[in-house]
């Protein structure tokens, strides 16, 4: 029988303290579990729930209740930050996540530096923060995770990404200035989340991968700004999860330099060997989202047990879930972990 609440279990796992069993979570943001099946059942639907705090919190609760994931994860997209910093958004549909319509700026040299506090004026930031507040007050035993889009991904959502990537090489000084500016706004956003009850902050930065940047730029940009953000959140007294997408053989030593309390990785990464190599890492992951979408409950159940056998600290999907993933597949996953 469980002797810890989900919140205690997750917080203890993040501190590498002893727990009764492994937590199984889905942090929200890029990695959210707002499946179409759940939304059709409950009527709390996207894209409306991207805007309205009452709908957002109800959907987060529906996800928690239906999937078996032991947390609330908010928001359900990665566009809140970029929208507040000037990029127009296409909010998608029930099935399709919101996307950037067009980046606000063509180049890092065009960026209009908005003053600190800009994010607090965004209605969607308000919806996120109010949802977190409500859920944390009404369900104090369940961790409410606030999800952030990382510094490089947010920067590449306000500046044309192809130009941005080139400018990381050719216009280093201005590129640093823009990413630093974005990071400051992310710190403000995290502060609002923490002030309103977020238990943990999760950062996903899919543009900051070893595959895209290579080890040198990963260190120069991704590690620098993810750590600036994580350090600031630690000063707020809250632990940080950092999710890194893609294959990372190339940047393994740099991953070990990240200041996240847990490092969440994609399905291609062998977490078992990573754990052996870097003992200090708290590992999170990494059941294939492909498996979760296209496989069946039996196979998923067995694969989930492999994660337990490998003693991955915090169990979660490996990356963003497809909205068409069947609920019974997710339930097979969470059940397998909770039965431990």
């Amino acid at each position: 029988m469980d002797s810890l609440t989900p919140k205690e279990r997750l917080l203890r796992s993040l501190k590498k303290e002893k727990v009764d069993r492994h937590p199984v979570i889905c942090p929200g943001g890029m990695m959210n579990a707002a499946l179409t099946e759940i939304m059709k059942k409950t009527g709390h639907k996207l894209p409306e729930a991207h805007h309205v705090d009452t709908l957002m919190r109800e959907l987060a609760f529906d996800v928690y209740e239906n999937t078996g994931f032991e947390n609330f994860g908010i928001p359900f997209c990665m566009t809140v930050e970029a929208e507040a910093l000037g990029s127009p958004i296409d909010f998608g549909s029930l099935e399709c996540e919101p996307k950037i319509k067009i980046e606000a700026y063509k180049s890092v040299n065009d960026v209009n530096f908005l003053p600190r506090g800009t994010l607090a004026k965004s209605s969607r930031v308000a919806a996120v923060v109010q949802s977190l507040h409500y859920l944390s007050v009404h369900h104090p035993d369940v961790p409410a995770i606030g999800s952030l889009t990382g510094p490089l991904s947010t920067s590449a959502s306000i500046v044309d990404p192809m130009t941005f990537l080139k400018q990381l090489r050719r216009e280093k000084e201005q590129a640093h200035k823009v990413i630093d500016y974005v990071t400051d706004h992310l710190i403000d956003y995290a502060q609002l989340m923490v002030d309103n009850g977020a238990t943990v902050i999760s950062i996903a930065d899919p543009t900051a991968t070893g595959e895209i940047l290579g080890p040198k730029m990963f260190k120069e940009y991704a590690v620098t700004y993810l750590n600036k953000l994580a350090d600031a959140i630690h000063l707020m007294g809250v632990p940080v999860i950092i999710h890194i997408c893609g294959e990372m053989a190339m940047v393994k030593p740099q991953i070990a330099e990240l200041h996240g309390d847990a490092i969440s990785v994609d399905a291609f990464v062998n977490l078992k060997s990573m754990k052996e190599e870097y003992h200090q890492l708290t590992t999170m992951g990494n059941l294939s989202t492909y498996l979760l979408e296209f496989s069946n409950p039996d196979t998923i159940y067995k694969q989930s047990k492999v994660l337990l056998k490998n003693n991955i600290d915090i169990i979660s999907p490996a990356c963003g879930l497809s909205t068409s993933t069947k609920l019974e597949n997710i339930q097979a996953f969470t059940t397998a972990i909770k039965e431990e």
């Binding site: 399709c96 996307k99 090489r169 050719r170 940047l213 730029m217 963003g320």
Partner: protein, 228 residues
């Protein structure tokens, strides 16, 4: 030996030197330097059509190889492409409508629902550097737009990209749309992107799966050599 032939020899040697310098500047991602050398080539009256192949494309081929070998990453490869483009821009007025015949024609795009296109852009770039005419339809492209492009360009292959499990299903829509319009057998379909695989290609009726840009070029070379 006459003065004139000596001058020609000197010019040839200079052209050879500038050709190598331009290729190196592209590999070294030096956009301004590539532009400067291209200007020197045209100002000295040394431009020849084959420079596009032996200098610009050759530089990009080295860049593509370094990318495949994990020496270069996306920012580097994009910068090489910028240098190649800067040189080509200078050469353009001297091309006089001539163009080296491409090895084949490819229509490429990220399928509907997918707004990621960094990977697709890289593949398009490497394919173009590999000597192909490329029609890039962009991101979030509906099946009907792919089918229209097939009718307009008669490509040897259609390359479909998807980075998300949510959008990979739309790859099948493209196959079906081409079948419906009776153009499916006119070209090969190659799919690529993180969530897809050879078995997925088979499942949706595509011809090939390419795990990376280099593999896509090798597949195209194979497709086009068999055609001819």
């Amino acid at each position: 030996m006459t003065a004139e032939t000596r001058e020609t020899k000197g010019q040839a040697a200079l052209r050879e030197q500038l050709k190598r310098n331009l290729s190196d500047a592209i590999v070294e991602m030096e956009v301004e330097e590539a532009e400067r050398i291209a200007k020197e080539i045209t100002a000295q009256g040394l431009f020849q059509m084959n420079l596009l192949e032996t200098s610009v494309a050759a530089g990009m081929a080295v860049a593509s190889r370094l990318y495949e070998e994990g020496e270069y990453f996306i920012p580097e490869l994009l910068s090489c492409a910028d240098a190649a483009e800067a040189a080509t821009e200078i050469f353009r007025p001297y091309m006089l409508g001539e163009k080296p015949a491409p090895k084949g024609c490819v229509v490429i795009g990220s399928v509907e629902g997918d707004t990621h296109d960094i990977g697709k852009n890289i593949v398009a770039l490497v394919i173009e550097a590999g000597g192909y005419e490329v029609h890039d339809l962009g991101r979030d492209v509906p099946a009907s737009v792919f089918a229209d492009a097939v009718e307009a360009h008669h490509p040897d292959a259609v390359a479909l990209a998807s980075l998300m499990t949510t959008s990979m299903g739309h790859m099948a829509d493209v196959v079906q749309e081409l079948t419906r319009r009776g153009t499916r057998s006119s070209c090969k379909i190659i799919i690529g992107g993180k969530p897809v695989s050879t078995s997925f290609a088979k499942k949706i009726g595509a011809d090939y799966y390419a795990p990376g840009a280099g593999e896509a070029v090798r597949l195209l070379d194979d497709i086009c050599s068999r055609r001819s």
